[in-house]
């Protein structure tokens, strides 16, 4: 370990390498002193390492920038190479659409400008390149406005640089930066405002019009930058170590920075229909997603004293750390709590993490990552962070009825997991009032689902013990019992009981599936009928597999054929699912796992699962439990995973085919070559001169040809599978939407009439939701008094509609990429003129397709 590495890495930290104190000047001096000595023999390594550090630890960029500025005084060549490397990085990042790298590299360049390493005008050239690309994209004639997401991203990148170098730019090239600002303003006037519809964590069902009077992300950042400029570019959150060395740095040679180019946006579709536009927009938004949507769950008093731009900078720091240090728990937590800012930001930090956990359509990482980060921060700041987290939970809980359905699920999964890491301690008494609410009240459902997940992660008695201060909540615990095997008691059907025992002993006696099928066909079905036989088989096999997940898998692997034989079609598969649900009625988890596995072994089709979920007795549970939605989610997820796996396999195989073709061609050429040479020597192909070599070449050519053929064959078979999967997928989503539409239509009419919620007006029942909204979120009730929520007044039918519509939106959003290709068909077959406007709106907002586009 050479110490220059540690010094570069640990600069700005309270680490032993720097004597445990933070003093930027000392750190830079010490680091510079060592690095300059090593420059001669380890220049290349230092260069690579510095570039890596400044990309992956972006909150330290100002320190690296100053260090490079000082190195520039010593060794211009070295710094020139750094700039060449940076230029290459930036160009690669632009070409591949690597958003984080583009943003961070631009920040790095800004800081290098502050340290006199590059000319301000070079930086402005980069800004102008991005700006002009952005302006082209949103131009109706020359560009493709459906790709506005990219244009917005470029503008965001430019604006994001200004906190790091705005004052230098204004001082050194006032006219040029002014030109950029005017350009951005012009851009803002051409582009369309981006609506949050379909992606906001809180659904304001009564405020569809807010779209027109609320700033979107780019406008918001623009106004923060304007404030900053009015404040003479002064801010607290960006360290400016280069000022300490100003006198020296001016002597450095400012280098030029080579030109960069922005990628072309795809052509606009020839036929500019609403759906074509939406499809392209979806694609662009996937590639250039908005990084954060602020949650604002804490009252303004917690963060108000911050300048708006400081808030933005801290969010940038936190998001960068979360991104670059994922998987390094200690480093990640240490960086998060040790940002280089002179103010406290624990509320902001919690808000930022929760905004990621709940980010729609998808956070950059799986939600479990944020669970881990929150756990680690609670341990790092035991005096402060747990209370902040609890405040966030209370705030979200109070607004749970407005929370997007997907977010509710994420919150339930996170919260139960979080508590399981902290001994299940929570002041449940605060929420005891949910027992007085009807069983469909979102608060009550939330508590019930959290407890269910806690039991899954732990065990019933333990969770029961954790709510002992509020024993009444036991009512919301899932049932304690295990499986419900209908033949275990004496009062079951005697004949079926006997058959079950017989089957059981056949299984214990290791009879094969074949033998069991023969037994069924010859002596059970003819006498007892299909229904009874199915019940006996399913109940008995489930009972045998009930001890654990592995027992289940074993029994399904061994006797799956028996089930397949007796449940060959959709109708019988639905009976099978019902039997599973009744056997496992005490365990939502086992029901879900069993159905999932059966779908895995293709004993149940995804269509059968959809049909069963929408069967009459289940529909009535849509708003009171997550049980059915979990099963539906699993089925969609599994279908999606199958398709993605096939896509990956096919891409991989296509590459292999190409490679195999090349290898085969080379082998063939070698062989031909050798043959022709022989001919030249003897006038005819006599295999005498070097028969060993000829034989080898021949067999090699044959082998490579065979390999090519077999690779191509496996590609073809995968493609056939893929085609089938695509058909299944299409059928699945059509069925899903049809079922949703059918169950919703009547209830929506009963509840909301023909009205669209937009026009429901103040007298509609829908306004009842408003009663619950408290404008500025008074989350300061640290005594946990939530009485105002006790007056829950949404009727059952209305809640049913809201929950179900919420899931329509959530599923549409989550699988948008799979749904878009089917959209023409869905419009034609499902979302016809006759569907209820609220249903249409739920689908459209999930897909972010706006009726007015």
């Amino acid at each position: 370990m050479s110490s220059w590495r540690t010094l570069i890495l640990r600069i700005g930290e309270k680490s032993p390498e720097y004597g445990g104190v933070i003093d930027f000047k000392d750190h830079i001096d010490a680091c510079f002193g060592v690095v300059r000595r090593e420059l001669d023999h380890s220049g290349d390594e230092i260069l690579t390492f510095l570039l890596q550090c400044s990309e992956q630890l972006p909150h330290k960029i100002p320190l690296y920038g100053t260090l490079i500025g000082l190195l520039n005084l010593e060794n211009e060549e070295f710094v020139k190479k750094i700039l060449e490397g940076t230029q290459k990085n930036l160009q690669d990042a632009l070409d591949t659409g690597d958003c984080n790298k583009i943003r961070v590299t631009m920040r790095f360049l800004t800081v290098l400008m502050c340290s006199k390493v590059i000319q301000p005008s070079s930086l402005v050239v980069i800004f102008e390149t991005l700006l002009s690309s952005a302006a082209t994209i949103v131009d109706d004639e020359k560009g493709n406005p459906s790709w506005q997401a990219r244009a917005d991203f470029f503008i965001t990148c430019i604006l994001s640089c200004l906190p790091w170098g705005g004052s230098e730019l204004v001082e050194q090239s006032p006219e040029e930066i002014e030109r950029v600002m005017v350009g951005i303003e012009a851009y803002l006037s051409i582009r369309r405002r981006v609506s949050d519809v379909g992606l906001s964590v809180f659904e304001d069902i009564n405020k569809v019009n807010k779209l027109h009077d609320e700033q979107d992300f780019v406008e918001d950042l623009w106004s923060r930058i304007q404030d900053l400029s009015k404040n003479s570019w002064k801010l607290e959150s960006v360290p400016r170590p280069h000022l300490l060395y100003e006198a020296q740095l001016v002597a450095g040679k400012s280098h030029d920075f080579g030109p960069i180019s922005c990628p072309e946006q795809p052509d606009a579709p020839l036929e500019l229909s609403r759906i074509n536009f939406g499809r392209q927009k979806h694609e662009a938004e996937l590639k250039y997603p908005q990084r954060i949507r602020r949650l604002n769950i804490f009252s303004a008093s917690k963060t108000e004293d911050l300048q708006p731009i400081d808030r933005f900078v801290v969010e940038e720091y936190l998001l960068d750390v979360l991104f670059y240090l994922n998987g390094c728990r200690k480093e990640c937590a240490a960086c998060m709590v040790g940002l280089p800012v002179p103010f406290r930001y624990e509320y902001l930090m919690a808000e930022t993490i929760f905004s990621q956990l709940l980010l729609l359509p998808q956070p950059p990482f799986k939600p479990i990552y944020y669970t881990l980060v929150i756990i680690d921060l609670c341990k790092s700041l035991p005096g402060a962070f747990p209370a902040v987290v609890a405040g966030a939970v209370r705030a979200l809980f109070d607004r749970i009825s407005e929370l997007d359905m997907e977010c509710r699920t994420r919150l339930i999964l996170w919260f139960s997991h979080h508590l399981s890491n902290f001994q299940f301690i929570w002041p449940w008494e605060e929420w005891a009032y949910v027992l007085e609410l009807p069983k469909w009240a979102p608060q009550r459902v939330f508590v019930q689902e959290v407890l269910d997940r806690e039991v899954r992660l732990s065990y019933w008695d333990k969770v029961k013990q954790s709510i002992e201060t509020t024993p009444a909540l036991e009512e919301l615990l899932p049932p304690k019992g295990g499986p419900d095997f209908i033949y275990s008691s004496e009062d079951g059907d005697k004949t079926e009981s006997t058959l079950s025992k017989e089957l059981n002993s056949m299984v214990k006696g290791r009879k094969t599936a074949r033998e069991v099928i023969i037994w069924l066909e010859e002596s059970v079905i003819p006498i007892n009928g299909l229904d009874a036989s199915l019940r006996v088989v399913v109940q008995t096999l489930l009972d045998i597999g009930s001890k654990s997940f592995t027992h289940l898998i074993t029994v399904l692997e061994r006797y799956g054929q028996v089930i397949a034989k007796i449940c060959p079609n959709e109708e019988t598969q639905i009976m099978l699912i019902s039997e599973v649900a009744s056997f496992w009625k005490n365990s939502a988890q086992s029901t879900a796992i069993t159905i999932d596995r059966m779908m895995g072994y293709r004993l149940i089709s995804n269509l059968a699962i959809v049909k069963w979920v929408f069967s009459p007795s289940n529909i009535d549970l849509f708003h009171t439990t997550d049980r059915l939605w979990e099963i539906l989610r699993n089925a969609l997820n599994k279908t999606y995973n199958r398709i993605s796996d096939l896509r990956k396999d096919i891409t991989h195989l296509k590459k292999s085919v190409l490679k195999a073709e090349q290898i085969a061609a080379v082998a063939k050429a070698e062989l031909d070559d050798a043959e022709s040479k022989l001919m030249l020597v003897d006038g005819e192909p006599v295999v005498g001169e070097n028969p060993v070599r000829m034989k080898r070449l021949k067999s090699h050519a044959e082998k490579t040809k065979e390999n090519e053929v077999s690779t191509r064959e496996s590609l073809e078979s995968k493609e056939a599978l893929f085609a089938r999967a695509i058909e299944e997928n299409e059928a699945l989503f059509l069925s899903l939407y049809k079922n949703f539409s059918t169950v919703l239509v009547e209830r929506l009419h009963e509840t909301f009439g023909e009205k669209n919620l937009d026009h429901a007006g103040g007298d509609s029942e829908a306004m009842a939701v408003d009663e619950e909204e408290t404008p500025a979120m008074e989350t300061d009730k640290e005594n946990g008094n939530s009485e105002r929520n006790a007056g829950y007044i949404i009727g059952e039918k209305q809640q049913w509609c809201l929950s179900t519509l919420g899931y329509v939106k959530a599923f549409s959003r989550q699988y948008a990429s799979e749904i878009w290709p089917l959209m023409d068909k869905i419009e034609e077959e499902v979302i016809t003129e006759s569907v209820h406007p609220l249903f249409r709106r739920a689908v459209y907002s999930g897909l972010r397709l706006h009726a007015d586009q």
Partner: protein, 283 residues
């Protein structure tokens, strides 16, 4: 024993830096498992390759009572699970604190290692590593007692040495344990906001921030010897456990208990050190 201790100390000092660089440069986290399985039929390179492409994770330091369903609930949060294989004591055929989970995709496998290792399951900080792939037979514990080798290894050094090498005495241990008891969700004690701790020490020096909480203290939990009657096998399992090799069993039990009761924190602060040690050890 003494030699082992010195070795550990040396590794701790050395690997800290190694790990840090690794963090920065190996973002993809080619986190090679700490533990080199001596039964792997191949070279070191093949072993590493197996780990880098593996879709199996090894989970250790589990409670003997943790069920497959609990594992499923936790590990399915990293991705779709293909299979779970519980590690069993080769003598008693009962779970002995480790298992394998197999995923369908490499990405999910990596996420399980990155995001679940070191978190709590059934009151115990579990450890999650890449594994070279399950083969029949590996479900049996290989320890001398029939239990798990890694457990024995850990049992040999873990709690005491950790504290010795960090210079913690019994007093500090006790203090740590008191802090753990109180998880504050009550009045926000912002007054005790700590200056950020840096990498090496976070979580260990908790300062004085852990006092003055209102609400739910819970001392002693008294459910360690719980028995869960989840299925008919439990009685069977119970009697099996009591039949076990008495000397080792009592040592392990006391180890479990003391770990949780005396100092439930040991693993959070020690887990990554552990990995670092092992990483080095593998080199």
């Amino acid at each position: 024993m003494q030699r082992l201790l010195t070795f550990q100390l040396y590794i701790l000092l050395y690997t800290r830096c190694f790990f840090i660089i690794c963090v920065l440069l190996c973002q993809d986290l080619n986190k090679i498992s700490a533990y080199r399985d001596r039964r792997f039929p191949g070279t070191q390179e093949e072993y590493e390759h197996a780990l880098q492409t593996s879709i199996t994770v090894y989970i250790g330091n589990m409670s003997f009572y943790t069920t497959e369903e609990q594992l499923y609930e936790l590990f399915s949060r990293a991705g779709e699970i293909k299979k779970i294989v519980m590690g069993l004591d080769k003598n008693t055929k009962t779970p002995c604190g480790f298992c394998f989970v197999m995923y369908y995709s490499r990405e999910d496998t990596e996420d399980a290692v990155k995001f679940i290792s070191g978190t709590i399951l059934d009151d115990r900080p579990i450890r999650v590593d890449f594994d070279w792939g399950f083969q029949d037979g590996r479900q049996w514990g290989r320890g001398r007692s029939g239990g798990q080798v890694r457990d024995e290894y850990r049992t040999d050094y873990d709690p005491d040495i950790l504290y010795q090498r960090c210079g913690y005495g019994k007093l500090v241990q006790k203090e740590l344990e008191e802090q753990r008891q109180v998880v504050d969700y009550g009045v926000g004690s912002l007054g005790s906001f700590q200056p950020p701790h840096m990498a090496q020490n976070h979580g260990r020096h908790s300062g004085g921030g852990g006092h003055g909480y209102g609400g739910s203290h819970r001392h002693g939990r008294g459910d360690y010897h719980r028995k869960r009657y989840r299925d008919g096998d439990d009685d069977h399992r119970g009697s099996d456990i009591s039949k076990r090799n008495s000397e080792h069993e009592s040592r392990r039990n006391s180890d479990h208990d003391s770990r949780q009761e005396k100092n439930p924190r040991f693993r959070e602060s020690g887990d990554s050190d552990d990995e670092e040690d092992d990483r080095k050890r593998q080199k």
